[in-house]
Symmetry: C2
Subunit: 287 residues, 2 copies
């Protein structure tokens, strides 16, 4: 009880890449109920660091897109800067739209998050070959600026962002391919509750001794021999020099399964550096 | 001879990511002599496409950085959009500086290419925790805008860019680690002259049948068995759906060597899709 006799509620704080109206916001609304306090952050890495510092309990961040690949800042922050675990994953089908203040005006400049710009590059080259791209921090930030800015500006963003910022959709579904999906994860300090119904996945990151991809071959053998299905392999710079890589590996199955535990133990033994990024539940996106 | 009796010179045109003063420009000046006409392009993919369309003979583009990893637009354009070959590679040590119109003013906003912003993220968070990042098309474009813009702006760029745009260096060597290098390649239609003195490297991109990293294990075996040293493995989205990957592989040795030819033939047989990105000479950076 506080001084005024009200019950003190300590809300479950969840960070997302803001402002309101981003795709991360949409995912956060799906994954958390009304008891969670959703809190926007200005960048992916500040949201992740806020979980690590205890400012918030959890965050929702994009980790991979079907056209653009990994969200490097998410991978790099997880590997280098914080000790957090993935607790859930969800894959969202992305529908990009071009938003402007009025229909029928010329488009001189298109604002959006660099990944959204990249995901629509070919379509926009065709529709607006003269328009200049301007990368900004988020799709919603792009919509906000277009709503406030001069004419001739357009933003790539969601229908939700159009509604939120009072913009018109001047071109719908402008992503380069129909199969554009983004994979989001939630991050927190504690491991996911192992009693939850699956499917489960597990992610690790390791640096292999000698940093030669020849040793990657031996690492992959540990999974192949145990019939562990890897769903992703991604190399990222180890930041110790060109040619030194970290490998991010995602696999089907949770740490509750002996073959996963055994494979991870074997890989850790062969690694110069190893980090378990957690076992987590795959949540289905329901339309 | 043209109508005025002048000798008609068809200059060897070489594209780079402009404007003047970018790191790509610096590399182009090293790799080509005075007879080449260096031509700036507004983006990496327009420079690459200009070679494919025959507008220019060759281009210089960044392909990988020791902190940030692959330059995705370069890999994706090479894989999906053009038929070009790598002819040379050179690794440049990157020295980033913070450039502003005057020393001693507060810095509210820092402009640069997204990779340069990412490469200095930690140092800038420490030095200017309140400053906002603004991604622009190139480091030189950032310098140009700072030179023309209001006070409170700063750009991440080279010493060369500072000189070219009349800016002060307010913080030197702001990259997050001392070992920051960028690997550039030149691209053209013709293969590199096989008579050139090495060392040589070869790059390929393939999509593996089934798209399961279990098949990557078998691909890596083809190189391991022939003692071919892979210097890089990178997965990128195949753009056919989340979980479908292309693998970019770089190896030591040129197509002139039988073991390289045999390994590539074996890998091509096991691939759903395969593209040879060329054998090329590694040029040393001389300080």
């Amino acid at each position: 009880m506080d001084n005024n006799g009200r019950k003190r509620v300590s809300a479950y704080r969840v960070g997302f890449l803001g402002p309101q109206g981003t795709y991360s916001h949409e995912v956060a609304l799906r994954l958390f109920d009304d008891t969670a306090l959703l809190q926007p952050y200005i960048s992916i890495d500040t949201a992740i660091r806020a979980v690590a510092s205890g400012e918030i309990a959890e965050c929702v961040v994009p980790i991979e897109n079907s056209l653009e690949g990994s969200v490097n800042v998410t991978l790099d922050t997880l590997a280098h800067d914080v000790e957090l675990l993935i607790s859930r994953e969800i894959v969202m089908p992305v529908r990009h739209n071009l938003l402007a203040r009025e229909v029928g005006r010329s488009v001189r400049r298109i604002l959006s998050h660099p990944q959204a710009l990249a995901q629509c590059r070919r379509t926009l080259n065709r529709l607006y070959p003269q328009a200049e791209s301007l990368p900004v921090d988020s799709t919603a930030e792009a919509a906000r600026r277009v709503a406030q800015g001069e004419s001739g500006l357009a933003a790539i963003g969601s229908r939700n962002a159009a509604a939120l910022y009072g913009l018109e959709i001047i071109a719908a579904d402008i992503q380069d391919t129909a199969s554009n999906c983004t994979r989001f994860v939630t991050l927190r300090v504690r491991a996911a509750d192992s009693g939850l119904a699956g499917p489960w996945k597990t992610s690790i990151v390791c640096q292999i001794d000698g940093s030669k991809p020849g040793s990657l071959y031996r690492i992959l053998a540990e999974f192949a021999e145990r019939d562990v299905n890897l769903t992703k392999i991604e190399s990222r710079p180890a930041r110790t020099g060109l040619g030194d890589y970290l490998f991010f590996l995602d696999m089907e199955g949770g740490i509750g399964e002996p073959r996963i535990r055994q494979a991870l133990t074997a890989v850790e033994k062969q690694s110069r550096w190893f980090k378990n990024l957690g076992s987590y539940v795959v949540v289905a996106w329901e339309a």
